[in-house]
Symmetry: C2
Subunit: 289 residues, 2 copies
């Protein structure tokens, strides 16, 4: 009898929605069905519901223009990565999409091929990063935009750190007619996501650390191709197997190796493969520029 | 291939949880599985995820000590009612539990049988409300606490309205040896839940109104019995079929009828049936007193 009433309640709620926007109707209905199923599946008690309400409220209240705790929650539960996989399904032949992350800032300075993205002093090892942008048939894509950003040796991105030049360790490059790009930088380092808020407390309660392995972010775009948001990870980094936000794909890990040609500098290489745009649907996921 | 990666991602996330508290582990794992399933089921896009993050952030930021927008969201999606049904399954023989709602304030004044709960002027029709508290075998329960609260004719509860005496339209009664209680009051009126925030905007987008049918809240407790949180609805009210928070049960609707014995006053009657406590689990859902 109770199971019947529980089912009837869910159907009443679903029947109450009459959105003009069909897509919104689909999303709200699915969210409602999963929420009710969750409550029934675990037999959520009053005090647990209370704790959940307090937690989500605290997550919302932690948000400021500089910090998006709700995104962080989505990230640490792997929901952001799941959305990336679902909304922009990677093809075996193209480079995998990953989360954009909270440190992307549009409008990085344009730089020449081979230029340094360092604008502030940094004690880290120097790295020459190079690669090519190609289509799935292996043809170079000329004039693609390669937008890069990474953290400094003190673990912070320029956007987090008033001590750094706002343009430090970020820049945009255009690929050559051979599809190539290159720049010099410092080796990125592992860092902890902000863990002094409710999401940090959750991580602690579920026995997890807040660390991400060292990486450089790339946003690669070219007319006629799906935009690619991805990371390149340093194969020597800790936490490759336990990235706090589930961004690591084996195919995105590369080796930073000692280079002969330049004393003390490391060489890293990564080639990106873009997928030709097939539908307008995908344009949806292009980040603001 | 992509479906495999999506599944693997979910399993990686679930495997990352290692909570000391087994119950927390169960809840976080179930929440994560439903979130990922939701994302995959609807094929959530980047801009939809963005809109969802912004909405939940706004809900959290709307919360103040006087207003709990996250509870409101749970209410309008029927999640609060589902939790009440799930955590305190009603038995056919006992009165149905419903949501406590945001206007309950502990510590209402004790009043004598038959007393009025009006402490401020009110133009509404007078009502004599009476009933009995019984166990499932029909035996009266003496000394049960009947804690009542309702809104005034201006639609507001005392806790929302500085013009009302803080004790207006609320009170606690003890049942007599026959299990009976009675009090005089005014007829409650239908009212809209706060709809000037993100939850109101959602209701608008999904084509719903924010109204609740007229009702009186009851919290009935007695040693040895499960606490009963419920409403009694006025059968003449609008919105009985479309309560914004899904609190209506047919069994909780009663008629406010013209009484002969008192000129202009209405009579309403409702008997409550409590379930004997069988396990300590239930004590969990007793609201703060």
């Amino acid at each position: 009898m109770t199971a019947l009433r529980e089912k009837q309640l869910l159907e009443d709620v679903v029947a109450s929605f009459d959105a003009k926007d069909e897509r919104l109707q689909t999303i709200v209905e699915a969210a409602t069905r999963h929420l009710h199923a969750f409550v029934r599946e675990v037999g959520l008690t009053h005090s647990e519901w209370d704790a959940g309400i307090s937690f989500l409220t605290a997550v919302g209240q932690m948000c400021t223009p500089e910090r998006q705790e709700m995104v962080l929650l989505s990230d640490v539960l792997g929901v952001s990565s799941q959305m990336e996989l679902t909304s922009a399904p990677s093809h075996d032949e193209a480079t995998a999409n990953t989360v954009l992350g909270p440190f992307y800032v549009a409008g990085s300075p344009w730089r020449d091929e081979g230029a340094s993205i360092l604008e502030s002093g940094d004690p880290g090892p120097r790295v020459i990063m190079r690669g090519c942008v190609r289509d799935t048939a292996g043809r170079p894509i000329e004039g693609a935009t390669v937008d890069v950003w990474q953290n400094a040796s003190n673990k912070l991105y320029a956007v987090q750190d008033p001590q750094q030049d706002p343009n430090n360790l970020r820049g945009r490059f255009r690929t050559s007619e051979r599809g190539s790009f290159s720049f010099s930088t410092v080796r990125p380092v592992a860092y902890a996501i902000p863990d002094d808020g409710p999401v940090g407390r959750l991580l602690d309660l579920v026995g997890r650390h807040p660390w991400r392995p060292a990486h450089i972010h790339f946003l690669v775009t070219a007319p006629g191709y799906d935009p690619l948001t991805t990371h390149v990870f340093d194969s020597d980094s800790d936490y490759l197997d336990s990235d706090a936000v589930f961004g690591v794909e084996e195919s995105l890990v590369t080796t930073f190796q000692a280079a002969d040609h330049q004393r003390g500098a490391l060489d890293a290489e990564f080639d990106f493969v873009l997928l030709a745009s097939r539908d307008t649907f995908r344009s949806d996921r292009e980040p603001g520029t």
